[in-house]
């Protein structure tokens, strides 16, 4: 029998879900003001369930009687449909149900089933749903059609949820269907080129013609047709997502400096820089190669201390987040955490970093192209998704940033990163012949089919309907359970290798692990969430929270009982065998038999051309100003610079107890920290420093300088809080548009060249990276023609530094009246792509460049000064330049400051006050120095450009003058208010 339990807020309690709906409708300009009431509900199915047992469940499990009232009735009962009294328009409200689609992960229902059985009741299944009663504010009735529209736009996400207006149309929960085994083959040998491409498209393989032809040739030679699972396996392995074929492919690149041929672009730029540094360190006795494992495992590994190494990885989850922001970001976080868990023999995740790119949240709803979710809803969903995964896993999210540009409208970017701590002797893995292939963790379901191939395609207004199955929902607690047992199993040496099931599911995990050996897999053994999955669905499903281990036969029993002891499922799926083949079987029948060599090396090389044409430099014409108060307030209040406190405080940034420098610092804990510091080993004083650098605005001028600036920014953020500049490792993360266009690929290669040059110049190794191409959104415009929005080239540089003793850390808030303010580093005429240009809508000018030699000297000088205790505060100069840095330091510290522009160290004397205030020249720091440390500070700075530009005072104002003229004169409260206003949600 199927019972429904509705839980309503008790009379004095807020109906928050209803209030949110009413507010969202107003926010997104819904036709008329609404009123609403809501309930959260459970459907519970069990043959023996009666009124008494259903009431008991409602009272002791599902409801909190202090704050909720429950309505318990068999499904369809009128009491479940009656409009709650708290809704005035009780006669006229429409009842709307929002349910997860069948087969979509419902973690709450899973937990509830187990908890209900703990009452000794026979339960078949539980499902959760949300109910709303909605009417016009004036008690007018919404039509059924309007209610459906409203729910589809604001309450449900079509990728995972369904809306039912009126009573629920079923009286039983479906528990999966039957599956009749049948091998499916595709007659690829007889297809012409057009047929091949149709197969590629319609089968969601997303492969190119040359690749399809190679596959056709293989099967022609073998004189048989491929099975569906073989084609899927090849497509997953060859997808852009899994093989990075464009950037690791052959590229003929041309720019103003001439032509260059790459056989493997990434290898010859970014990897090469790291190899160059390691060769240099190996030759020099005074140097030390502290890289442990780079560019080969799921995350890059470097040395931390005598006992531990650190693993670091940042991933993107853009396309899923565009379709279903919460689920996409949630599983993005879960996925990157699994990357570090699956690095070496397993790292313990110690902190997260997240960077997002959205269209402005105040985009008019009417202006959205079809198929696009409103950016405010996207942003809210993404933040909640990351929050719920990180918080529940107990991993502090300590660092991040958000960038806004209207070109991210249909294609937001979601970067999720994770740092792991790994014992030195657990940093490498190798599966052994004869090892069992063991799946650990969540069950396999129909969620997340075709994620790897879909993420390599362009998004369109129809992506949602085509690829809804590509969206997964996470269950963080399942992953936490898996983490707990895997770290224990690692420490007992129970497995020889581990990897995560990410894009491509078992297909990628087993394919990668068995690449050098060979593997046989018995697909019917995989535990599934429900019956009815085909062998192919089992193989490529991207259901979350699954890891694959290689377990020596004699250790299996120990793995099994360890997992069982903490309610984690572990299953033998097959065996690694030194056959060089990937053999897949279902119930004894062979459904695939491919050579590992063909899978991993058989893909025809992608050959592309890439061009970059530098922009002609245009001078920038600066507006005349009496003073720059408004410019400063406008930049502080621009979305990119503005306070992200609304996001930061939703993340637990202190769990694990190692928090040293938090994302918000200062006298009121609301100033923007340059980088975060955590102490991963509670008995040690050594710290990990996390920061990032990104500035797509500069990319519109020159991607080389954009990349160089991002690297400089990531490093200087790290150095500003006390990190040792010789122990900073960085990651690259390229999110670009469609790289089949020569110019788009050209801009990427140009950025990669900068990565190479800067990495070597700074002695800062890249240790891992990732790319996501095809970040474009297409839709049919008003005239029916195809319109495309491509994201701006976006390179995220994530930095992981180290600090020997966290007690030497410095924060950016001003500390003491009477202290001196020093500007370190030269200011140049570099307003191109600056935030001064952005808020004033100016074009032209030169984007910031990096002088690597003086930058490196500056980083070392600042580090020396910090180690000698010379700095009371230190802040890097970035968006908004000197003026913004000074304002942030002042209001964070609750102290005034007076600054003189005349003293600003500059290249040449010709630069004007506007430039001195707002130029975004790289490698600069504003430092607060106590008078008694002045001499030591000056000595530490002897080799680099620096000057005393002002002092800290007791006033509540920031004043910046040029000779007698006040360029900025604002109160701290005015500055802080401008900075906090835009995202104070």
């Amino acid at each position: 029998m199927l019972w429904e339990i509705d839980l309503h807020p008790r009379h004095a309690e807020d109906d928050r879900a209803a209030a949110q709906l009413v507010a969202d409708a107003a926010d997104l300009h819904w036709d008329e003001p609404l009123q609403a009431a809501s309930a959260r509900s459970y459907l519970v199915q069990g043959e023996a369930l009666n009124a008494e047992s259903a009431e008991k469940l409602a009272g002791e499990l599902f409801s909190d009687p202090v704050v909720e009232t429950a309505i318990v009735a068999p499904i369809g009962d009128a009491s479940l449909h009656a409009t709650p009294q708290r809704l005035e328009a009780s006669e006229n409200a429409q009842l709307v149900h929002v349910l997860l689609k069948p087969g979509v992960m419902d973690p709450v229902a899973q937990s509830a089933e187990a908890a209900a059985r703990d009452f000794g009741l026979e339960i078949d299944a539980v499902r959760t749903l949300r109910k709303y009663w909605i009417a016009g504010e004036d008690s007018s009735k919404l039509s059924e059609e309007k209610a459906q529209q409203l729910a589809t736009r604001l309450l449900a996400n079509d990728a995972i949820e369904q809306v039912v207006v009126g009573p629920l149309p079923f009286d039983r929960l479906q528990l999966g269907g039957d599956y009749k085994f049948e091998i499916r083959t595709t007659p690829i040998r007889e297809l012409d080129d057009e047929g091949l491409m149709r197969l590629s498209r319609e089968g969601q393989l997303y492969l190119q013609l040359a690749e399809m032809q190679t596959i056709r040739q293989l099967y022609t030679d073998m004189q048989r047709d491929p099975t569906d699972i073989e084609l899927e396996t090849i497509a997953q392995t060859w997808s852009e997502h899994c093989s990075h074929k464009t950037l690791a492919g052959r590229i003929a690149y041309k720019d103003e400096n001439g032509e260059r041929q790459f056989d493997n672009m990434l290898k010859e730029t970014i990897f090469e820089a790291t190899q160059h540094l390691r060769r240099q360190w190996a030759k020099d006795e005074t140097q030390d190669d502290w890289c442990v494992s780079v560019f080969k495992d799921n995350a890059g590994i470097v040395r931390f201390d005598d006992q531990f190494n650190l693993a670091f990885k940042v991933e993107t989850h853009n396309h899923p987040s565009a379709l279903e922001p919460y689920g996409g970001a949630n599983t993005g976080m879960g996925g990157v955490i699994r990357d570090t868990i699956g690095t070496g023999l397993g790292a313990k995740p110690i902190c997260n970093t997240d960077v997002f790119c959205f269209a402005p949240p105040d985009t008019p709803p009417e202006s959205l192209p079809p198929g696009v979710l409103h950016p405010k809803l996207v942003m809210r969903g993404v933040v909640e998704g990351v929050r719920d995964y990180g918080n529940r896993m107990g991993i502090p999210t300590v660092n991040g940033s958000v960038f806004f540009d209207s070109r991210y409208l249909g294609n937001p970017l979601v970067y999720c990163g994770n740092v792991g701590l790994i014992p030195k002797d657990k940093s490498f893995k190798e599966p052994q012949p004869g090892d069992f292939i063991v799946a650990v963790g969540g069950r396999t379901g129909r969620d997340g089919i075709h994620g790897a191939t879909f993420s390599s395609a362009e998004l369109t207004s129809e992506s949602e309907s085509l690829s809804g199955g590509a969206v997964q929902i996470g269950n963080a607690i399942e992953e936490k359970k898996v983490l707990d047992v895997l770290l224990a199993a690692r420490d007992q040496n129970l497995f020889t290798s581990i990897t995560d099931c990410g894009a491509g599911g078992f297909s990628s995990a087993v394919g990668e692990m068995g690449e050098e050996l060979g593997a046989e897999v018995w697909l019917e053994r995989a535990p599934t969430k429900y019956a009815g999955l085909t062998y192919t669905e089992i193989w490529i499903s991207e259901a979350q929270e699954r890891m694959v281990l290689s377990v020596p036969e004699e250790k299996w029993e120990a793995v099994c009982s360890l997992c069982e002891s903490e309610d984690v499922e572990a299953t033998i799926l097959g065996k690694f065998e030194p056959t060089g083949r990937l053999v897949l079987k279902y119930a004894g029948e062979t459904v695939a038999d491919l050579s590992m060599d063909f899978l991993h090396n058989g893909r025809p090389p992608v050959i592309r051309e890439a061009n970059y044409k530098p922009l002609a430099t245009k001078p920038i014409s600066l507006p005349e100003r009496d003073n720059h108060n408004d410019d400063l307030l406008n930049i502080l209040g621009s979305l990119n610079v503005a306070s992200k406190e609304w996001i930061i405080r939703q993340y637990d940034h202190e769990v694990q107890g190692g928090s040293v420098v938090k994302p918000l610092v200062g006298v009121a804990s609301d100033g923007p920290s340059d980088a975060a510091i955590v102490r991963p080993v509670l008995t040690s004083r050594r710290g990990v420093v996390i920061s990032n650098g990104m500035n797509p605005c500069y990319g519109d001028y020159d991607p080389y300088h954009m990349a160089a600036s991002a690297i400089d920014e990531a490093i200087r953020n790290c150095v500003a809080v006390g990190a040792d500049p010789t122990r900073i490792a960085i990651l690259d993360n390229f999110c670009w548009g469609d790289c089949e266009r020569n110019e788009t690929l050209g801009s990427l290669v140009r950025a990669a060249l900068a990565c190479h040059d800067l990495s070597i110049a700074f002695g800062t190794p890249f240790i891992s990276g990732k790319d996501s191409l095809n970040n474009e959104f297409s839709y049919a415009g008003p005239d029916g023609k195809k319109e495309t929005i491509a994201i701006p080239p976006t390179l995220l540089i994530s930095a992981m530094g180290q600090i020997a003793d966290v007690a030497s850390a410095v924060t950016m808030d001003l500390k003491q009246s009477g202290n001196l303010l020093y500007l370190v580093g030269n200011t140049d005429d570099e307003l191109g792509g600056s935030h001064f240009s952005l808020v004033n809508d100016l074009q032209g000018g030169r984007p910031p460049q990096v002088n690597t030699q003086s930058a490196l000297q500056t980083f070392h000088a600042i580090h020396n000064a910090i180690n000698q205790g010379c700095l009371a505060a230190c802040h890097d100069l970035s968006e908004g330049g000197l003026a913004v840095a000074a304002a942030e330091m002042a209001f964070a510290g609750g102290l005034g400051a007076e600054i003189s522009l005349a003293a600003v160290p500059a290249e040449g004397d010709s630069i004007c006050a506007t430039t001195r205030l707002f130029s975004e020249s790289n490698s600069r720091f504003l430092c607060e120095v106590p008078p008694e440390k002045q001499q030591a500070f000056e000595a530490a700075m002897s080799e680099v450009a620096h000057a005393q530009v002002g002092a800290v005072n007791e006033t509540d104002r920031l004043t910046i003058s040029e000779s007698a003229k006040r360029q900025v004169d604002c109160s701290l409260s005015e500055l802080k208010a401008a900075w906090q206003a835009p995202l104070d949600w």
Partner: protein, 263 residues
Amino acid sequence: MSPRVLVLRAPGTNCDAETAHAFQMAGSSPSVVHLNRWLESPTRIADHEILCLPGGFSYGDDVAAGRIFANQLRHHLADALAEFREAGKLILGICNGFQVLIKSGLLDNDGPEGPTSTLDWNASGRFIDRWVHLEADSSRCVFLSGIERMYLPIAHAEGRFATKDSSTLEKLANSGQLVLRYVPNEGNPGEMNSASGDYNPNGAAGDVAGMTDTSGRVFGLMPHPERFVDRTQHPQWTRLPESKDGDEGAGLAIFKNAVRYFD
């Protein structure tokens, strides 16, 4: 001999390591034990003096924070827990542990018609991580002995103390059980976070941040004392003069009180 501490973890518990570390700093040798082990052998608690339920998201906060864990205690371990309490031993619940305690009735908050108080969603409807000023009633609870005020972090979504009605709140207050409250910062109002305004960040009834049972030996609190046992965990530590008490954070006092109780 120092008391034996059992730090109890369940699926989704995630503050067990730092909580055990805090107990260790306080002079005990805690063991971290999975709930399943205790369920297998309910008497295993008998050879411990302190039971601690640390923070996290037990069972994912699915259904409601602490609910499923609390039901496990109610259904399977009620006798063992009753015996443990009657033996004069101590129980501490932090954050999710407090949610479990209050939903299991161990804080003497069940009336004849069921529970009279609970921890529900923050008034903002959101998870929040920030530091709060607290005032303690040091006379009613072993864990708060000698403590008047504290500055500690909270990090939760479902931490709003709520009672069935105002008379329940009054009754609990009169019985001296509401021993920890959010208070405005008297000394330095600047320390309050201006963006989130209020000193009581989750909207708790009576500003309640923690409560004890009638014996004073069972204590639950939403703030995380284990996150302030070292001076570098304080959000303004780079502004503070070096303390003469060394590097210890104020949260450690709660753990020391528990350990010292068995001296």
